[in-house]
Symmetry: D3
Subunit: 283 residues, 6 copies
């Protein structure tokens, strides 16, 4: 007589073996500079996902018909970011070796670094689509090279020019914008995603990694995040982005920077859950 | 020496006898599947309505010039939905017998069933306009036929095809959408209300009942609800909808699914109050 | 490569087979008359239990050394209390048949009824220790016989006089106090638990069921509940109560009426978790 | 067919004519120096009073058996404290002329001044019992003589020495304590109420006015107030105080400084409601 | 060895002498008719401004390159609005005499009156651009002439016709709209700012004072305010407004009506901070 | 014309030179294992300290008569605990070299380590009084030696046996209690502080460092902390502790683990402020 155990994300109760996609949490927020708490995102998303349906009318697809395994969370050491990054890299390697697509729930944005690093070992020509309010292109942040504010720069360090596409960006240092826009090291679509269609066309034969910092969304619909940045895109925009990505060869993805305790209404978690559902359905 | 008693909705202090419209609350949330609390909506709306003006610049009309009686709340038995539905039906009958238009504040969406049922006895050709994020078309929900997730299907059971028009719908089971869209039992305008004008033209000679599940609104502006569903319409859209309905022969209406305790900012209640004011002014 | 899966209550990761105690959730709040939300208690308690240690310095015992299986939650139908009570009764029967001690997390207090009913079938001489702010002795509540306000009376219906001991009671109808105190159908220790020691001595050879409505605690330390009732006992008092029960032949227990969303500080859930830990360690 | 109208405080639905006690609200917080919001207290107390029973087991009395009329709130002008004080004085005069006992819900503490002033005209020998965390004895506050921090000094201005008894006081200027304790203008029982019994004995033949600033309670049980002051009395202490006052000739009373929006758990309002219930039962 | 002192608004650490703009707070909310708390805005904005960058990609300007002095807050007397208005007027006079541009953080909207009054003495031809949800044109409010609901009317009293331009207005009495629109005493652009460009062209040679009541924004993005009024403009609209003002001869400005405690997500304060940053960059 | 600048803790506006005590903040929470956010404590305490009086009736002393300089916060690098500890150590050295007593506001408990380390260089015979709910005696926490859960063990590493006295402890691993109690490396007074008087007598001739983890307090009065642990001491107990310490040769102190965002009532910050005030008055 088995009881109903709601722990996995809704509809993600397939076994590891039969699944193409493996969902896992990386509850780390140790370099967050303003409001911490993204460590609480994975569990909150799983529980609140039961307010969702498994069926998406936008895509006319149902999670029940897909094969996703929710593996739980990586057990991370607070206060040692090197150990944290190693643990995440190790698990991503494990998934890739087993032919699974990693789908990670952050945590803060720094957790993206080890996954892209693992993906890069398997897919040398990987292209990164980065959705965010912030540039994340600092060389260092208060003396540290590994930080949620430097993560994309760290990824550029091994990917190099022409491989990173940034959308929705509306905050950063003058120097970061200069480095990206004037020096051309990354592609930046400021504020919105008007040029996404063109980019998708251009990279359609490449393996693609998608990293979504949910603070790309306007804080009216997503207040529960470390650094709320007014002036973001709407949820409809996010749906459009995901539909535009449909058909790409996405080989991994993540959704980061939900800090659920800062939104007592629960809406931010509902948003994160729905973004995750749509993302799974296009993977 | 009478003190100021703020209990009624602002401007609804006319007597029962002189009023055309009777406002009342149905504080029931017993079948709510996710976050309960819509039972607290009627009282909270009344108190917070004093942050509103009685004058609507949108319609250039003033509640002070209209005749609305706020009758208070129906006293409902928790834990017995049959008794609850009977009590609401009884009060709606009483209003209709006295030539009043019922205007109900929910509670959850199931409370709409007894009012439409009462209205149907007086107006056999009544047409239902349904504004909502959710289809509410299940045959049963976890074994129960009477639920906030089945209410529109229950209404269809006696109204039949061609009488229900649904707007803003963005969540439901694949089967519900199929039943409505493919089999054509109801009319569905997914996500928005583009076809409302045409429908209004088509039904302009019919008696119309309007049921507004406030979760049709995006949770950015209306987070205080049982099942927040990102991707909804804006408050401006809601004003447009109400203006479009102006001129119809509306013989009853309701506003449901505000769960005020989930929104500590109070904005959800302010939204519900303003929707109610505009609705009264077009009744 | 197994990830860390935090879903069960801390330290309760033993298998069903090897465990003497089975923890399960009954997330029902359908007859709650004031503030609903105890349906969210089981999941919240599990997640927040990771803020606890498994070791109790009060008892000098460690959960790691005990055998408790956390079975998850019973899947309940909202809006049909009869089906809910049947499902809980069925699961409690299943546990008792397998020689397990049921340990339930509510939900509202009505969920105690089916468990005591199941226990009674195995232990005809069972005695109930009831810790609560409220009498819960009404014959009916707004016309309903099955309600969180009538649950102890319902239990008395089959147990009869001299079998129910109530502690901490500080709210009820005049009639309820009369029925219990003057007519002597139950034993009531108003406000506190001064007479608990004597009662424990008296019933030490009987099978005992313990039901703890956490609102026995003062709302200063336990605000997250449906009906906060100032003037309750302290957490130290609760620890004393549990130590006093140590040694009794407790054959089942429950902890009910945490409504976690009403306490944004999370303290109420921390309290519930610690009460559960101590309770497990004396079972 | 009358609906249930919950607006009055529970059990206070007797008519003005038949009632001995008249409850009314004075929703003013205009001189509050720290956190405003006590203006929202009267309405919140009324609504949440329905979480209470009308029966007090402490006193073995039931509000249903008493005659209290809830008159609603005085309509006050924000931003003009002189007009506010006049309006309150006028209403208190009206009650006293009609032989009623005024029972006021604040609002901030300044609202006590006009009621005591009205009472003083009828009862020249009135004695004031003042329960509070703060001395409220300043001559002026930031240049203003009429303030929540000066109210007891203002009352002393017409009552004079030997007429004011203060309990629970734990915060104030050094000068205020000196003026009261060393110069002896008022009687101060610091921190607690050990000497209340003696005082009650001493004043038992006098008309007594009782003013309760709820911040006398520890903020653990009463956080929702303008200036939370740790180190206060418990709710049990408050019950003891009220029982000690039973039998005095209390000719008016008030309960002030609940700022409900600062306590999202609702416990502060539950506390205020229960204090009011007990207070009514000893009046 | 100086520690980092975060008190001033980010990037506003220039000295009084070298600065052209002086930022100061006026923490007064004494005439607020609905939800008080704007007194807490200045400090909260300063602290949360550290979640912002000093660089604006919208304007491609950096606060570090500008000269703004953050002077702290005016010390105001609660409960005496005349003294408050005098103190603000005095400080604004001081700034103008020293050739500084005043930039004030409210507080409620009444604090705008003394600053415009001071500005008017130096710039007889000053034009006021007023961004708000509310008309603020009442002759009196509950008998009082000086109130947040009358402030623009009070300014009109000395400026007269043709000098005040109002944008975003969506709430007021019928009489106020009539007085402004029909009688033409002010210019009103209801709901939005479509005509702002024309007005800017028209007044480009005049000294301009800009007063921004942040409740012009939709409460989805700005819930933390005294009277949330659904149907407002978006943050993108606000950025457009500020860009449109760039180039005008703005000789003073203010940002009022943030009540931060009503928004536990902190987003309202983030919005206010970003509006202030952009405003400084166009001054 | 200087404005009122409220940034320092109330009454701590003396210059560095004239002060004996220097107050500073260490806003670090990077190793917090459960709920982060103590980084926000120093600023919140300063602002909310204005709800306090400078005069303590408990001690009959006034902060205005003492010489305390509030130096602001140390600017710390997130994500690098080694750099953080170095910076704090450096500042504590600077204070000690200048003959000042360091008084630190945390941050998490790990920040105590560098200050005690600095103090130890000046006072080889320093004794540490440790008030806390948790042992903090782990050798490592999830592989890390520097953590809020290991801090007292780290201090023991250089102080050795017989130098650390722990009070209020009610949570830890079995091994920690064994190490302290059975092996006797530290002195532990579990749950309370009954033996404090004896210890004070014993160490009265030694230099003493006092570290107060505010979670020693019961979460009823102090919910805003990383790991709320029910069963703590009351605020009255805390006052007694501080009075008992009066007269000791305290050469430094800290108050840590306030996480203000977890307590929307603000009471936790009020408690921290009052503890700080009393602590200053006995230093």
């Amino acid at each position: 007589m088995e009881l109903f155990n709601k722990y996995c994300f809704i509809g993600c109760n397939k076994s590891f073996e039969e699944s193409k996609i493996v969902l896992f949490g990386a509850p780390f927020d140790g370099t967050c500079s303003y409001r911490p708490g993204s460590r609480f995102a994975p569990n909150k998303i799983r529980i609140d996902s039961y307010g969702l349906e498994t069926y998406s009318p936008y895509l006319d697809r149902d999670l029940e018909d897909h094969f996703v395994h929710d593996a739980g969370d990586i057990d991370l050491t607070f206060g040692n970011k090197y150990a944290v990054l190693d643990a995440i890299k190790g698990y991503a390697d494990h998934l890739l070796r087993n032919g699974k697509k990693p789908l990670m729930i952050g945590g803060e944005h720094l957790v993206t670094l080890p996954v892209v690093s693992a993906v890069y070992e398997s897919y040398q020509d990987v292209v990164v689509l980065h959705f965010d309010a912030h540039t994340d292109l600092r060389g260092h942040y208060m003396g540290e090279e590994l930080s949620h504010a430097t993560v994309i720069k760290q990824i550029w360090n091994f990917l190099g020019d022409g491989r990173i596409y940034q959308f929705g960006i509306r905050s950063g240092l003058k120097e970061e914008f200069y480095w990206a826009e004037k020096e051309g090291h990354t592609f930046i679509n400021k504020y919105g995603y008007e040029k996404l269609k063109d980019i998708v066309e251009k990279i359609k034969n490449k393996p693609v990694y998608v990293t979504i910092d949910l603070d790309i969304l306007d804080p009216s619909i997503f207040p529960g995040t470390g650094t709320p940045e007014p002036g973001g895109i709407s949820f409809h925009d996010m749906l459009n982005i995901l539909k535009t990505l449909d058909g790409l060869n996405i080989i991994g993805a993540d959704v980061v920077e939900l800090a659920p305790d800062y939104d007592p209404t629960g809406v931010s978690t509902a948003v994160a859950s729905k973004v995750l559902r749509e993302l799974m359905l296009i993977l």
